[in-house]
């Protein structure tokens, strides 16, 4: 049975829809109201507050911490400056992705790793020979994502400390409602946004302070349904949906390399040994079989298919994540793994894995749709994600845009 997060007394009172789902063993809100759209609109035009406590969190400390993280992740963690956050993935010996997450460098030898899957055992297994202590702080830390164009103003109002100046993919300590917290300028919406890491026992104090500060800035509590639309617009992949952890795959064909899921930019090959390096080098040379692409699904064609039945075009209001075939010239060349209508961009979008020879932006493919119980194909054009990439995501007021920021 899933557990309540430390925010449950507040979130359950607000969740009038009673729409919940399980996320990493916790109860998580799908949408607070029957329909998630106001929450989605809040993220894109004001701000949304999302409980992200179910993320796994690990503190990695000790003289060998940097070397250790350089060894286990595909990213050159040594390059992270103090106070910087890096996004990346870690692979098995065959260069297949196990999980993706962030690494925050708090100090020379003090890191925090977040992940979507439990990773303590795997990290510990590889720690042998490194002078490093790994602590699973998943349950000690509650976490909130505050995302959207007014998130900076809200945090500035709520916090002591100059959080407004925090650049993209940077981290700082701050005080909020009398509580010491960690703030990272990160998120899963592709918008201006922050994640706030809070000692579990102070979770409600911080939640209340943020709610109070958020009110004049149009903030709404936000559930996973709204997040799902945002992350498709932002082109962010989801483990278990757009790719599968090699740890869980039953057959080789289900596994993916970082290059195949759009994470090639997080792989730093020009350095000493790290897990999966040889396989990744070989794949880099030989080329990858698959590529992760964005698809923009043709609206007119879809409209005509519905019109043939005398119907107006209908789309699911939520994001979808049931994989559907992608074709070209009568051949299946991949699958779209998740998608959503973007109310902001007025586009029908999908993320897809396609054979890499069909992955060039502008390529016209066809995606399977079901119209009145009949399977049909409509054209879809390959796009390079993100679909939505506002300047505010990475800009910081009264300072130069951070060039040392994150790629995505």
């Amino acid at each position: 049975m899933p557990l309540p997060t430390p925010f449950h007394p507040r979130t359950s009172a607000l969740c009038t829809s009673l729409r919940w789902k399980e996320w990493a063993g916790y109860h998580a809100v799908c949408s607070y109201d029957t329909c998630h759209e106001p929450e989605y609109m809040a993220v894109r035009h004001s701000a949304g507050l999302l409980d992200v406590t179910p993320l796994y969190k690990f503190d990695v400390r000790g003289p060998g911490a940097t070397d250790f993280l350089c060894y286990v992740t595909a990213r050159n963690v040594a390059k992270l400056k103090i106070g910087q956050v890096g996004y990346g993935c870690w692979c098995d010996e065959d260069g297949k992705v196990l999980d993706d997450g962030t690494v925050t460098r708090w100090d020379e030898n003090d890191y925090r790793v977040t992940s979507a899957d439990p990773s303590f055992a795997w990290l510990s297994r590889h720690a042998r020979g490194f002078d490093v202590a790994i602590e699973d702080v998943s349950e000690d830390l509650a976490a909130l994502a505050l995302q959207g164009p007014t998130s900076r103003a809200i945090l500035e109002d709520a916090c002591d400390g100059d959080v407004g100046a925090l650049p993209f993919f940077r981290a700082m300590r701050a005080r909020l409602g009398g509580v010491d917290i960690d703030v990272t300028r990160t998120g899963y919406t592709g918008d201006l946004g922050y994640e706030v890491w809070i000692p579990r026992e102070h979770a409600l104090t911080v939640y209340d302070a943020l709610t109070e500060a958020g009110r004049p800035h149009g903030m709404l509590p936000m559930g996973l349904d709204a997040l799902d639309v945002c992350r498709v617009e932002a082109g962010f992949i989801l483990i278990g949906v757009d790719y599968f952890s090699a740890r869980r795959c039953l057959i080789e064909a289900q596994k993916s390399s970082p290059f195949e899921i759009g994470l090639g930019w997080t792989v730093h090959l020009k350095r000493d040994n790290f897990i999966g390096r040889d396989a990744l080098l070989a794949e880099k040379r030989a080329g990858s079989t698959w590529a992760l692409v964005g698809l923009e699904i043709d609206w007119e064609e879809l409209e005509h298919l519905f019109d043939a039945h005398g119907l107006p075009p209908q789309l699911p209001t939520s994001a979808w994540r049931t994989a559907v075939p992608v074709h070209t010239g009568g051949q299946q060349v991949g699958r779209a793994t998740s998608g959503a209508w973007s109310p902001l961009l007025k586009q029908n979008l999908a993320l897809a894995s396609v054979e890499s020879r069909h992955s060039a932006p502008g390529t016209r493919l066809a995606i399977e749709v079901t119209v009145e119980f009949e399977r049909k194909l409509v054209s879809a054009t390959v796009r390079k994600p993100p679909f939505f990439d506002p300047e505010r995501k990475r800009s910081t007021p009264a300072s130069q845009p951070s060039s040392a920021g994150e790629h995505s």
Partner: protein, 529 residues
């Protein structure tokens, strides 16, 4: 040699800009001239009071055509629409009526007034959607013209006839009722509760000098359901940054495609030579040459002003003179230091995240019309109120709000003459604030700034003749092949090389952009999709 343009668009309203964007996209050298310093015409955002951005005139986006959004890639140029989540009618007794996107919640709300209406409401919606499928091709293409025997026009007419035949007999009957009945009578056939019928009926009268009991007003009810048949596009929404952002996103698209836009440049007249338009004469006396001139201003201003009667046939002039503009509405914009609290529903703000109608009964609306018929503004008017800052904090300082009140009736021709409006302006503003404050006590104390726009002001400041927000009433005899005049409904004018692209052409009305786009297509000689 002087610079020469393929087309000069007179007026930087949203239709003029759409027209310019399509012409530029087709490779034409286009210049848009806007008299005011700010683009958008009546779809304009202005910071009238420091820190508060008003959607000064038009305040919601209704039927901006999806194909225009796609063709011009408007989201890329800054268009962002936030849907209205609720339609709220406050009442003096009980909690009022809120209609939500959530059908079950709406059913319970309506059932408080009538269990029968609560069940019929979705049936009504379904019927409207089915019939709107017939109407949609009408607004996305040039008007079918039963007066024309040209093969292309006849084929068009037959296609529409075909679609009409595809409607069931019952729907054909419904459609003919909607074309002829009043909104109030038509709704009487479906519903029994006044509290439901009154706010629904007003869509039939907005921008017209008619009452909810006037025949022909039922048809516009359909427009409310048009958005439904655009699939995911949704119908009514706020534009982030105010409605001016719609215009600005179109302007950016137009510039992207190569159009040039100049503001603060008034056009005095269309220059004529040998019976054709050859350019424009500016207010400062300068002349600009163009192969074609496109007027985005209303038909009166275009023909009786820019062209001049001397260049037109007597018959055409009298047609244009008979074309009814007679504005019937005004606008009050408020900057407030807190969110208004409606006494009937003081908790929460979800019911304020859409529009709030002050339309407590059909009788109330009809009485409001009575005053206007005899040359006065309604002391207790119909109000359509929105608080866009609730969902778009960018238009007001944190915690503060802008309130936009659309007000009907405010007849252009007051008993003592339209020119007496400036003396009545503040009394009109008071009537609006008093009306709203009856439902939201404490409103007056919260007001930081008030902008009152009478029909006179809409004419003087925005160039809307007689203050008509649609460049001419959307009454049946002025729609489709008769907009603005029989025989001249296809964006062409009796003056060679002079075209029309404003709301005074088919289909007109609201921030749709269809008039501008269809005008451009007509000029380019391309078929509508």
């Amino acid at each position: 040699m002087a610079e020469r343009w393929d087309a000069i668009v007179v007026g930087g309203g949203h239709n003029g800009l759409v027209c310019a964007a399509y012409l530029a996209k087709a490779g034409k050298k286009v210049l848009v001239l806007e008299r005011r310093d700010v683009l958008g015409g009546a779809a304009v955002s202005e910071e009238v009071y420091p820190g508060f951005t008003y959607s000064v005139c038009s305040y919601v986006v209704s039927l901006l055509r999806p194909w225009i959004i796609r063709d011009l890639q408007l989201p890329r140029f800054g268009l962002s629409i936030i849907p209205l989540e609720c339609a709220f009618l406050p009442t003096h007794e009980g909690p009022g009526l809120a209609r939500w996107g959530d059908a079950e919640r709406t059913r319970r709300e309506i059932a408080r007034f009538s269990a029968k209406d609560a069940e019929v409401y979705p049936e009504f919606g379904k019927t409207m959607v089915q019939m709107a499928r017939f109407v949609k091709p009408l607004i996305d293409a040039p008007a079918p013209d039963p007066l024309s025997l040209r093969p292309g026009r006849l084929a068009e007419l037959m296609r529409h006839g075909q679609r009409l035949r595809e409607l069931s007999q019952e729907h054909q009957a419904q459609l003919s009722k909607m074309m002829t009945m009043s909104a109030a009578d038509y709704l009487d056939e479906w519903f029994e509760s006044d509290v439901l019928k009154a706010p629904m009926s007003v869509s039939g009268i907005i921008g017209t000098f008619l009452g909810v009991r006037s025949p022909g007003t039922a048809y516009v009810l359909l427009h409310h359901y048009m958005g439904e048949i655009d699939g995911a596009f949704r119908s009514w929404g706020f534009s982030k940054g105010g409605t001016g952002q719609v215009s600005l996103s179109i302007a950016r698209a137009a510039q992207h495609f190569g159009a040039e836009i100049r503001t603060g440049v008034g056009v005095e007249q269309v220059r004529m030579a040998g019976g054709r338009a050859t350019g424009v004469v500016l207010a400062n006396g300068d002349e600009l040459d163009a192969s074609a001139v496109v007027s985005g201003v209303d038909p009166h201003r275009t023909f009786l002003g820019l062209v001049g009667e001397d260049h037109l046939s007597e018959d055409f002039v009298s047609q244009i003179r008979r074309y009814k503009l007679r504005g019937s509405s005004g606008k009050v914009n408020l900057a407030v230091d807190r969110l208004p609290v409606f006494a009937c529903r003081p908790e929460g703000d979800a019911h304020l995240r859409g529009d709030v109608a002050i339309a407590p009964s059909i009788e109330y609306l009809e009485r409001a019309y009575d005053e206007a018929k005899y040359g006065d503004f309604s002391k207790r008017p119909y109000l359509n109120v929105v608080i866009p800052s609730l969902v778009d904090p960018s238009v007001a300082p944190p915690g503060k709000h802008v309130i936009s009140c659309f007000v009907q009736y405010a007849p252009y021709n007051l008993k003592e003459g339209a020119h007496t409006w400036p003396d009545r302006r503040e009394a009109f503003g008071d009537a609006v604030v008093d009306t709203l404050a009856e439902y939201a006590p404490g409103l007056k104390e919260s007001i930081l700034h008030r902008q009152v726009l009478t029909p006179w002001d809409l004419e003087q400041e925005f160039g809307l003749t007689e203050g008509n927000i649609f460049h001419g009433e959307l009454s049946l005899e002025q729609l489709a092949f008769q907009r603005p005049a029989a025989g001249w409904a296809h964006y062409k004018t009796p003056v060679r090389d002079l075209w029309m692209c404003g709301s005074g052409t088919h289909p007109g009305g609201g921030i749709m952009g269809a008039s501008g786009a269809l005008a451009a297509r007509a000029m380019l000689g391309t078929r509508a999709s």
